[in-house]
Structure formats: C-alpha cells, structure tokens
Symmetry: C2
Subunit: 405 residues, 2 copies
C-alpha cells in the first residue's frame, strides 16, 4: 500500500487538469494506491510539504468532468528550476523528506521541458540515495516543442483556438471597402507550431492566413514588405499570422526574462504594424492572441482533452510497472484514420531540448505553410466537449483559495 503525489507546473494550458483527472481516475482503479496527494504550486508544494488530499476535493464523476473542462492548473503552478544535486543537495533532501513522510511511492509531474528536467534530476537523485520512489513526467505545453513525442497535450486545444479565432478575425477584417492589413501575433518562443496551425484554414477553402511567419524561417523586414505588397495586389484584406518569436531588430523585445532565463517576448505584432503603416501607409492593425491561446477551454479540442486524460492515466500504470525517470509520449501511427499509441521515453532525452517545425512544412519563400503539413495539425483539433454552463458562462472547478494557502 502506497500513496501517490501529483503536481502541475509551467505555463497553463487547457488540458493540464484533464491529465490530473487521468492520474486521479487511474489511481482509484488500483487497490495498491491509497491516498492521492496534490502538490500545491508544482514542486514547490513538495519542497514545503504543502500537499492536499485530492480524494477530499474531487468527490464525484461530475467533479472530474468539470475539472476536465477547467483551464489552467487547479493545484497552482511554479517555474522552479532544481539545481544540480551534486552541487546543492539541500532542496533534494526536503523533497525526499516530504515524500517519505507522506509514504509516497510515485510522484507524477505534469509539465513542459523544464519539468522533465526535474523528473530526470529527481529520479537520478533517488536512485543515487537508494530511495524507491518512482518519478514520472506527463508532458504538456501549448508550444508543442517537446522532443520525441508526436505532439504535446495542450497544443491541440490552443491550435483549435488559434484557427477558430483567425477564421473569425478574417471575417472581421474583410468588411470595409478599403485595403487593409491585419497582423495576428501568436505564442511560440522558438518554435512555430502554434502559428503554423492557423494555416488549417486553408483546408476549409480560406485563402487566409495569406502570410505565415515562424521562427524556423529566416525573416527580414524587406522581404516582409515585399510579401505584404504582393498579397495586397491579390486580396483586399491581407491577414498575417506571425509568431512572437521571429527574429526582429534590437529593441523590439521587452528584455524581461523569466526564472529560467527565457526572454519574455512581446511587441512583434505592434512592430510590424508600425512598419506597414510607415512603409506602405495602408490601414493596418495588430492583434495579440495573448493568454487566451492557452486558457480558452470553452473551445478545447476533445481529442486533446481525451488524450491528456489518457496520458495521465498511462503515467500511473507506468509507475506501477516499476519504471522511473520516464516521460509518457505519443507516437502517431497514422494521420487518417488518426491513430496514436502511448509509449515512454527517458526524461533526460526530453528535458531541456526543443522540437522545431520541420523545415519541409514551410514553403520555399519562408512565408507560409505547405498544404501536406496540415495533415499533421488537423487530427489534433477535432471534437468539442458538451460544456457545463452556469448562468451563461462555462463553469470551472476550483479549489477554495484557503485550501491552497
């Protein structure tokens, strides 16, 4: 008989709670698992012994369904980077102490590649000190930039939001008789997956987005202006998708960095808007999709949400089978009919690396996505949930602030 602990980390997505539901529901099926602890604010909750008993919080099937529809991390999150345990063991001792005190046999960490670094380091440390606690990573990130896995939970819902919103912005942009340019800035530090996903509109017969700029292609302002002028000769309203992470002149980025040293990017949309206004002089606007990309669960992809739950459940089975230091990943068998299997990879191979958009997804001009590449994106955005509504607004599952304090 053992207990398990689960935590959520990194930037929110629409489906991290679905993975939590997967972990929770699968745990209930195994009589060898007793208490299911949730760690408040990611690994910070383990360090500070701040755990909550999930069985006293998630009570019914209705609670689980509501949690599946709730964006962001119900247990809170963190951006905490573990030091190398060979240099600084202090925090590792605290983690081990909490897990031993709570009789934890397996710790599941739902997060991005920084969290997979934590999974890797913790499992190494535990094996070094001979502590038999399994550490398993469940991937998530809207950026879709984790290695080895075909795609990451959270990406499909973000892509569905981006495509839908791009479609609606297209309708909004073409109403006036004068020529115009609309620039939509989409998340993605170094990888253009989410920006590229907006091109699924081409499969519906839309010509928009007419231009798609991703960080994986070389970018120059001169080429950009030529592209815009060319598209303006063909379309009254030109719609442009641009990744926040494309390489731009000095001074555009805000320069703020997060705890991991990632640059906090902003402003490329505004920058290109003012460039078009100055150089072309037409009506132009820029729109930042902002955090709505990662939290619009009212438009979650059912495929994504179901997969997030399944990969969470697979994490429990993986731990029970005796594995540790592993990350659950998807391997795609076929696009049509869409078929994936869940496998495991070493956390060390997933951590601290990024997966970029394949070069052959990008057209030769470096300003749009090739048609065949849409087969990658389309299965991930299929299906919708029956939303639970309250007073006309989608309802969320929330743990009272006082419990999380």
């Amino acid at each position: 008989m053992m207990n398990i602990a689960v935590a959520q980390s990194g930037g929110p997505t629409c489906v991290i709670n679905a993975s939590l539901v997967g972990v929770f529901k699968e745990s209930l099926k195994h009589p060898e698992i007793d208490a299911i602890f949730g760690s408040v604010n990611g690994i910070e909750g383990i360090i500070e012994n701040h755990l909550v008993d999930l069985k006293s919080i998630i009570l019914t099937n209705y609670d689980m369904e509501l949690l599946r529809q709730t964006p962001s991390t119900v247990l809170g999150s963190c951006r905490y980077k573990l030091p190398d345990w060979r240099e600084d063991e202090e925090v590792y001792k605290k983690i081990a102490a909490t897990l031993k005190q709570r009789n934890i046999g397996a710790f599941l960490y739902i997060g991005g590649n920084d969290s997979m670094d934590t999974v890797n380091k913790l499992s190494e440390y535990f094996s070094q000190i001979g502590l038999d606690i399994k550490v398993i990573g469940i991937p998530k990130t809207i950026d879709n930039d984790l290695c080895i896995t075909d795609h990451t939970p959270g990406f499909g819902s973000a892509a569905k939001y981006v495509a839908t919103t791009m479609h609606e912005i297209t309708r909004d942009s073409i109403v006036y008789s004068i020529p115009s340019v609309t620039i939509v800035e989409i998340m993605g530090r170094h990888a253009g997956w989410l920006t590229a996903s907006s091109a699924v509109l081409h499969s519906m017969g839309e010509t928009a987005p007419h231009l798609v700029y991703v960080p994986e292609a070389e970018f120059s302002i001169e080429r950009f202006l030529t592209d815009v002028r060319q598209e303006m000769s063909k379309h009254k309203a030109v719609i442009i998708a641009v990744s926040e992470g494309i390489e731009v002149p000095e001074g555009v980025q805000s320069g703020v960095v997060d705890n991991f040293g990632h640059k906090y990017l902003s402003g490329i949309g505004k920058h290109l808007e003012s460039t078009v206004r100055t150089e072309i002089g037409c009506k132009v606007r820029s729109i930042e999709l902002n955090v709505m990309q990662r939290c619009s669960s009212h438009l979650g992809s059912k495929t994504d949400i179901d997969e997030a739950e399944e990969i969470g459940a697979a994490g429990i089975r993986c731990a029970l089978s005796g594995e540790t230091g592993k990350v659950l990943v998807f391997r795609r068998i076929e696009d049509v009919p869409y078929t994936v299997v869940i496998e495991t990879a070493d956390a060390g191979d997933v951590a601290n690396q990024e997966k970029f958009l394949p070069k052959n997804y990008i057209n030769s001009a470096g300003n749009n996505i090739r048609r065949f590449a849409l087969n990658y994106f389309l299965p991930l955005i299929q299906g919708e949930l029956d939303l639970i509504m309250d007073n006309g607004v989608p309802k969320h599952f929330a743990i009272h602030e006082s419990v999380l304090k």
Copy 2:
C-alpha cells in the same frame, strides 16, 4: 409587387448576419415582396448601385443557419456619414436613383447610431421629394449604447465572450504563488456596458473581477493605485476590468480618428500596467480583448442571435405596415422570466446619441458593479447554438470575393 434592399453598417458584431437572416426569411413570407437585394458595403452599395440578389446567394435553410453563426457583415460594411441633404443633395439623388431603378419599396439598414442617422436623413429626404420608399433601422452594436432600446443586438454575444474570457483569464492568473495584477482592457468608447458585463462572474461565486472601471465613473491614478493595493491585501491575484474609454492623462490615446471623428482609443491597459509596475512593483500584465469581443461567434449568445433575427423580421413587418424613419427597439418587461417586446422608435430620437450605464449600477467607490445590476446582463448571455463545424473549426457563410467586387 416591390423589391426590398438591406445593408449592414458600422463595426462588426456576431449577430448582424442573424438580423440579415431575419429580414430575408420574413421577406420570403410576404408575396408582395419580390427580389431581396443586399447592398455591398452598407449605404455605399446603394450610392454606387452595387447590389447583389440575395435569393441567388442564400439558397437553403442550411445557408440561413450557417449565416446566423457567421460573425461580421457578410455584405461588407462602411463608415459613411451622409451630409445634410439641404446642403448637399448629390449623394441623395444617387441613392434615390438606385432605389427607383431597382424598384425598391423598402430599405432596411442594420447598424449603430450613425446608421440610424442615415435612416433618419433618408426618410426625411424621401418624404420631402415625395418618394414612397420606407426606410427602417435595425439596431446593432456591441457597445450597447443606443438610446431607447433596452439593449442592442450584438451586445449579448460580446458580453458572453467577455465574461467567459474573464473567467478563463482568472483561472490563468491565479496559478503562481507570487502576487500579481492582471488588467483586462475591454471595448467601449464612452459607455461601460461591456466592461460592466464582466461582473456577471460575481453571480457564479467568483470574486473576480475585483475592480471594474467604466467611463461613467470618475477615474484617478491615485485612487486606482489605492484600490489595487487594497485588493492585493485580500487576493493573491488581482483581476481588473477596464474600459478602453476611461479618462486618462494626455498622450495615452493614439489620437487617430475615424470618419465620424471618433477618437480611436488604445493603450489604457498598457498604461495602467506600466503604472502598476512602476508604483507597486509587482508582477503585472495587461490583456486587450481586441476585436475578438465582436467577432467570437463560436461563443455567441443564443438569446442574442435569436433576438437579432426576430428584430430583423420585425423590420420587414414594420415597413410593410407603412411606417418609415423608424428604428426597431426592445422593451424589457421582466428580468425573470426574461420577457421583451419589440416596438418602434423614431430614428431621429435614436441617432447621434449615446446611452450610458445607469449611475446606480456603479458602486459608491466607482470601482465595481453593484450586484442587483447583474439582473440586467444575465438574461442577455444565455444559451448557445449547435455550431456547424468543418475540420474542427466553426464554419462560416461567405460570399465569394468576386461577387462583392
């Protein structure tokens, strides 16, 4: 036997096309109406005799349902202000010529208060020259600032989007352990209706938005900072709704004006963000909901969409009854059960005026919305459509660019 013409004008909303469907469907029921012409780009299409035959474009019930779910104006839009016909009759002669040539007996104009000015001027002019063409206005605006009517089509869907997104942003904001402030900038030049609608979350037990600033209340940076500090003492993550139109120091507004001389506002969110960063020094971000507020038909309010269709249909009946220079309006009988009736008002009484949030909706501190006022907003955001999907993305009805050229 006569033909009718219909046009759409002003800023897009989610339901202007539903009003077009109402006009179209009702016209089909009356044997005295023959062709139904759509004017391309609002009144500009009448001036330039650029009309399309809607019966050759909207063919089936499926087309009508799809059009009901399509945001923005399928016929294009304009921001065209008619001169006083006593000073400049030229354009009026062109309008009369088109309508006579096409044998139009009634012209229905779907738009905001500037469009109602057009309805008023045209009906006056036609009666002056003895031309028997009825001119009827169908209201729309996400701003909800039209006089006489209880509310305007388009507002309910925008309010549902704002409330839902504010709810999701709330989930996104509370995940980290450090204190933070999130500022959400919402549309509304002079009227705070849409910003105030975010407070419906209070009816679901949410404390967010913790502060709500509307143009109808006095605003000062000093009071704002005091408010924020006070809320930070109570909540880890403070969520603020702020109208784009609140009065701010010089230099924040971009100074660009549209054809009607309206100031094009932007930047209050960014301005307050940098004020909080400088003066309080905590984690802070601002989010502009931008055009998504007016075009997110994937989250349209069924109540709003159905009402928009009904008021369009009522416009046809009004014209057939022999009225002209009228605007269709809603009068609310009861909040619960929600009951409205459709009546008419003189276009001259609706045009060129704005309806503001009642002072008693705003709390005495001028920084939130009173609980009783939610009864006004709640009925307007109820219900959802069964969306027609295509490849995982809501499908839209569109007229081919070449037809609109």
